[in-house]
Symmetry: C2
Subunit: 332 residues, 2 copies
């Protein structure tokens, strides 16, 4: 059976990527409904040669819908996902709202596909930085047991939305002309600048984005004792996230084994041009499906340590692609 | 006695900063000689209202000179520093050439000033990323014993020289206009992009820049067993370096103790606006003397761990200022 699909937040950055991927992957759907705020209602969007009109999201939007791809923000998912489930739809939610809710599977399809079947109507898509990290970590954790993971991120403007990307562009233009610019999306200068991630600061000194990486990874790996510490930094990059990841393993390993596991990991591509000292960058990873891994080397500072450089498209595998891959594994 | 001073590499980015700092700090000097390649000889540079003419660097340039501030590249230091020493000068060398040479002190004046007096004519200025890291680490290492340090850097264009800064600006302008741009200084796209540090790749999988942080820190701390692993990344920032630093201590500690040590550390400034979630950034640190530290928090992933966010001006404390602070402690 081909599902009737609705996209919540069809006019956002992830919404646009969802539409592109549904087309590109020839996702089997019976009908497609685009939902957004009243402000965007009436907007026309092309999909496979058809012109679709964006409709206002209401509690009655979900009649006859089998699958909702939700990407309109946590508060809207909180309010509308239960209505969608009541109407008989399965919701794949891109927001953070239900991720840590018990009974809601949190899924990276290459890592824990078996969790999908435990859903009760809602399946959560993890945080972008978490997905990008989980892919290369999963096979290494299985083989050698990750004792501790220290990650520092280099996160793109796309993570703060389409408006932040536009602001970075405009602000950089102004900066190069020597003109003043007043930031309205990001709360500090962003052109030729970087800063600790602007999600809310918690009592333990971490920001929410960092704790998402810590807690969501434990849930995906079904390992409440999995040890992660994260430092999340926003850099003046458009749309792919990079991560410097340091791992300590329980068991001894060889670099050859690590390479072999990463080369065979689904969704992961080992990318290195050692001779020219060229590695994955956010520009080359933008618009691509895989999570790229390089700078694979034995850590000099501890016994069973490994250093990795990981880059993935935040909008794609970090959000839209992962959601669609979940949807592709569903039965309606 | 006020020294007769010569600057080797007077026309480069660090050379310009050395001149500015000699003026700003009212460095006590008797005369100032500007040395550079034949190509730059004849160029006029203002210093304290006087017009100085850049002279070509030769083996005879050092007659009567007491202090050489060298910043013209490793191969020129290798060739000319011995001539300067033979002529009776003390060389404070900004290049990497002599840093690991036995008998050459490697000095961060706030950390190991006592090493200065062991010099035999040459004193080495550490790598910029190393200096910026060593300042906040020194008091913590003394108090709690650093068992292991994992650092990821966010390094500015200035570290690749004035030409790289100009290229980043030009390339970003072209990128925003949608025009093609051919990189000539950096070997890959740099506008709205970042990449693993472009210093030579070594057999152990680390790049030279990373091994400088590893080996130089051991020498500065006089602790051959000091454990560091580093991942160095070049970001599209003009002139300050940032570092995400994870520390594991031998001894238990309290966050209050860590704050107190960092607040009292010479050359370090704790910078945090927790309420507005604002922390040190490369833009705010540019042109400033201190190394800024923030995001000070207990690491959730191990017993005695600490996370730090550190930002310092690469050209200033990372190079020129540190060299001049060494020179200020010398006796001629």
């Amino acid at each position: 059976m081909k599902p009737n699909v609705a996209i919540m937040g069809a006019t956002g950055a992830v919404g646009a990527e969802l539409l592109e991927l549904l087309d590109e992957r020839n996702f089997p759907l019976n009908s497609l409904k685009l939902l957004a705020s009243a402000r965007s209602a009436g907007k026309k969007i092309e999909f496979k040669g058809e012109t679709l009109t964006v409709e206002e999201l209401t509690h009655d939007s979900f009649e006859g819908i089998d699958l909702v791809l939700a990407s309109a923000g946590g508060s809207l998912s909180k309010e509308y996902a239960p209505s969608a489930v009541k109407a008989g739809a399965i919701v794949v939610d891109n927001t953070s709202f239900f991720r840590m809710t018990e009974g809601v599977p949190l899924v990276v399809p290459e890592v824990n596909p078996e969790a999908i079947k435990e859903h009760k109507g809602i399946i959560a898509n993890p945080n972008c930085s978490t997905i990008i990290m989980a892919l290369p970590l999963a096979p290494l954790h299985k083989a050698f047991g990750i004792k501790r993971c220290v990650v520092s991120t280099y996160q793109a403007a796309s993570g703060a939305g389409a408006k932040a990307m536009e602001e970075l562009k405009e602000e950089t233009e102004a900066h190069l002309k020597g003109e003043a610019y007043e930031n309205t999306v990001i709360n500090q200068p962003y052109a030729f600048n970087l800063f600790p991630h602007n999600s809310p600061m918690l009592d333990n000194g971490y920001v929410e984005e960092e704790m998402k990486m810590v807690n969501e990874t434990k849930k995906i790996f079904q390992d409440p004792d999995f040890k992660v510490t994260a430092t999340c930094i926003r850099v003046p990059i458009m749309r792919a996230h990079s991560e410097s990841i340091n791992l300590e393993f329980e068991k001894p390993f060889t670099i050859e084994e690590a390479y072999e596991l990463l080369k065979n990991a689904e969704g992961v591509e080992v990318y290195e041009d050692r001779e020219n000292n060229l590695w994955a960058t956010p520009l080359m990873a933008s618009g691509k499906d895989p999570v790229y891994v390089g700078r694979i080397r034995r850590d000099l500072s501890c016994e069973n340590g490994l250093e990795l450089w990981v880059v993935g498209d935040q909008v794609r595998k970090g959000a839209a692609l992962n959601a669609i891959q979940i949807a592709e594994k569903l039965e309606y």
